[in-house]
């Protein structure tokens, strides 16, 4: 892959006596969807605000497309904050136009693109309505449009699905994937781990102001493998358990019946073939696959482990 669109090197920021982020270094590959994860208050929002130049870092360097991050890059970044709203008394169309012009679009171009997007989302009838007359989901759509309208190279979405019903969530998801296809890089901050697995290529997990986990989603998940496997079989649990021998141990199993399933962990450095060779002799194996931890499990595990190691009094 070519050079990353965004890179942070040892970025730190403290507010009077409170460290918001400390020595954060991440690199966001061009064209990827990058998940920025972490518990509440970990420092995600501060970091996102630094990328948007809303606040400046105390120390550290930021790079955009190989150049030092500057004010001129703001037009290439799109930002949908978690705390988002619109002027309640202003008309929808007028407001969308204003926000797009602030991002540097000319009035003509902004109008053209807004027409296109309003049609696409089926909200063109709302153009002359005031924002206070809109439902929350409707307003969210307008905000999303305004965020992407200037065709940013880097899109930062902070909890983009909050407030959306499942139908609109899907609509936004497909728009995000569409944008990715067109070459937009997306930094995606959320607590919804399901959507992380679905959308993200890379993740960085921030906890207590530091990055504690970073990498490609597939690689991170395999890093958290626990050598456990799901076995579907015909036979009894007794038979299975006896056949594991020194290769594995039974962790849990389903109810007795014609089609059984059990979870088994490899021990003593055994391989899957050794284990399978053993159990195949006593029970009929109908399925065998590795248990790969979900992002949810990884999140809880990584944060928990970090807190146990670092927060001792």
């Amino acid at each position: 892959m070519n050079q990353p669109i965004f890179r942070a090197e040892n970025v730190s920021k403290a507010y009077a006596g409170h460290v918001a982020i400390e020595n954060i270094s991440i690199s966001v590959p061009t064209g990827s969807i990058f998940g920025l994860l972490g518990p509440n208050g970990a420092g995600k929002t501060t970091f996102i605000r630094i990328i948007n130049q809303i606040t400046g870092p105390d120390t550290g360097q930021l790079w955009f497309n190989g150049e030092r991050l500057e004010e001129k890059h703001l037009g290439l970044i799109g930002y949908l904050p978690e705390e988002r709203g619109l002027y309640k008394k202003m008309k929808v169309g007028e407001q969308a136009l204003y926000l797009c012009q602030l991002k540097g679009l000319s009035k003509k171009v902004a109008l053209e693109r807004l027409k296109y997007w309003f049609q696409k989302f089926g909200i063109e009838a709302w153009w002359n309505k005031k924002v206070e007359e809109l439902s929350k989901g409707m307003a969210q759509k307008v905000q999303f449009i305004v965020t992407v309208l200037h065709e940013p190279k880097l899109l930062i979405l902070d909890e983009p699905f909050s407030g959306f019903d499942p139908i609109n969530t899907n609509l936004i998801k497909s728009e995000i994937l569409e944008l990715k296809k067109k070459g937009t890089t997306i930094i995606f901050s959320t607590h919804n781990m399901g959507s992380v697995e679905e959308l993200c290529d890379h993740i960085a997990l921030i906890n207590n102001a530091r990055v504690i986990l970073e990498g490609e989603v597939k690689e991170v998940r395999s890093r958290f493998r626990t050598n456990t496997y799901n076995i579907d079989f015909q036979g009894s649990v007794m038979q299975l358990s006896a056949s594991l021998g020194t290769y594995g141990e039974l962790i849990e199993h389903g109810p007795e019946g014609d089609h059984m399933d059990a979870t088994v962990r490899l021990v003593n450095g055994a391989t899957t073939n050794q284990l399978l060779g053993n159990i195949m002799r006593t029970v009929e194996v109908t399925g065998f696959r590795e248990v790969i931890p979900s992002m949810n499990d990884i999140f809880i595990e990584a944060v928990g482990r970090y807190n146990r190691e670092n927060m001792k009094p």
Partner: protein, 446 residues
């Protein structure tokens, strides 16, 4: 278009298009015109009559209590008690005036017994009449007759002339300077309050509607703050301009209407109504006062010519905007530090106190425009917009004006810088009770 221009445009257009702006723009001058016309109209149509029974045990006043248009005196030949009963029993009489026997030796103890509260004018009229008469009786007793008194009356009016360093003489009119100065001061005071609070509201609106973070990812917080301040200043200027134009139209329209109405009616009643106080001027003085009036009018015209209108107009615009800018930046900072308007109270005091203080001090300064206190108050940026405007019509040396303006500009840059730093941090803070200590911390962030 550059970004700050866009912000100014939005702030201006959204406010100017509001119904409340249009309503206020039209209602303002109507109210102002009403304030000037209604009292006159009311005074003219005041049908409320007072019928007073006079029981005069001193027998001095029977022929001397003269009726006016709406005060009528009756002299029944009865005692006090039966007069009281008569008043209470009938609707025709409103009060009983009792003058006791020894009025010449002890003038206190005159009673007015009423069943319907008489107006202040009625009471004052009775007091004036009795006072005048007793004085005349006393003078007559000492052997001084009426003609001597009239001849001795003198009316003095000073012609004040300013002699400046170059030796040029200029006539000034203190009253006119007072009116011009006070009027400018009041306008500036109103402008700072009305539109400074609008700036604060605008900031709170952006904060509570949570649009702030979207906007400051496109523009610098400082640009947003300045755009808002300038946009609202333009709204204020527009409104004041429209008020002046419309007021002039309404007042002249109203005047025409009133004059029209009275030329049909009795031409003298309007003069009477407008000059109710002059009713009490003893008759012999009229010739003198007419002469004085002519002199006064000449003087006013001379001093109108003398007042340096280009300087006043320029300084008015300067202090009008300067005063607004220096305070609105602070209002913006307060708006950024709170989550809703109710919370803003605790930070409002340090802002409103100097505005109200300068307004109060304006009445002191106007009586003594060249005292050291007046000088210093017109130099300090927080008080100078109002105080200097009050002083200017009296004539202020150019170096003082220049210094005061320069200090105001420096003050503006200073407060805006401070406000900008508080604003930058404040707009992103939610759900936190902010103390002054906290604000101090924000100031020192980089």
């Amino acid at each position: 278009m550059n970004k700050i221009g866009l912000i100014i445009q939005r702030e201006y257009l959204t406010r100017v298009r509001k119904k409340s702006f249009i309503v206020m723009t039209i209602l303002g001058p109507i109210l102002m015109a009403a304030l000037m016309i209604v009292p006159v109209w009311m005074a003219m149509n005041d049908e409320d009559e007072s019928n007073i029974l006079v029981i005069d045990d001193s027998f001095l006043f029977n022929e001397r209590m003269t009726d006016t248009d709406n005060i009528h005196f009756f002299f029944p030949e009865v005692g006090l008690d039966s007069a009281k009963n008569q008043m209470v029993a009938s609707d025709d009489f409103d009060a009983v005036l009792y003058i006791h026997k020894n009025i010449m030796s002890s003038p206190s103890g005159i009673q007015l017994i009423y069943d319907k509260q008489p107006g202040i004018n009625v009471i004052r009229y009775i007091e004036n009449t009795i006072e005048n008469d007793i004085e005349k009786f006393k003078l007559a007793k000492s052997g001084i007759d009426q003609a001597t008194i009239e001849a001795a009356k003198t009316n003095v009016r000073l012609v004040t002339t300013k002699l400046d360093e170059v030796g040029e003489e200029s006539k000034s009119n203190t009253e006119l300077s007072m009116v011009v100065g006070m009027f400018s001061g009041i306008l500036i005071y109103m402008f700072i309050f009305l539109y400074g609070v609008q700036v604060m509201r605008g900031v709170i609106e952006e904060k509570t509607s949570r649009i702030i973070e979207v906007i400051i990812s496109s523009v610098k917080p400082f640009e947003l703050m300045m755009g808002k301040i300038i946009g609202i200043a333009l709204v204020g200027l527009t409104q004041f301009l429209l008020w002046i134009v419309l007021s002039a139209a309404f007042v002249s329209g109203g005047k025409m209407l009133v004059e029209d109405h009275f030329s049909k009616d009795s031409p003298t009643s309007i003069e009477q109504a407008m000059n109710t106080t002059e009713q009490f001027v003893p008759e012999g003085e009229e010739a003198v006062s007419a002469e004085l009036n002519q002199e006064a009018i000449d003087e006013v015209f001379a001093s109108i010519k003398q007042i340096d209108f280009p300087v006043i107009l320029f300084s008015f615009l300067f202090y009008f905007l300067g005063g607004y800018l220096i305070y609105s930046a602070l209002f913006a900072a307060v708006g950024s530090a709170v989550d809703n308007e109710a919370d803003s109270q605790q930070f409002m005091l340090p802002i409103t106190a100097p505005i109200i203080f300068s307004f109060v001090m304006a009445q002191v300064v106007i009586n003594n425009p060249e005292s050291p206190m007046s000088f210093w108050l017109s130099m300090i940026p927080f008080t100078s917009p109002i105080i200097m405007m009050v002083r200017i019509p009296f004539g202020v040396p150019y170096w003082e004006l220049g210094l005061s303006m320069a200090l105001l500009v420096i003050g503006f840059i200073g407060t805006t810088w401070i406000a900008g730093r508080i604003y930058r941090t404040g707009i992103l803070m939610y759900g936190k009770k902010i103390s002054y200590k906290e604000l101090w911390k924000w100031l020192r962030y980089h």
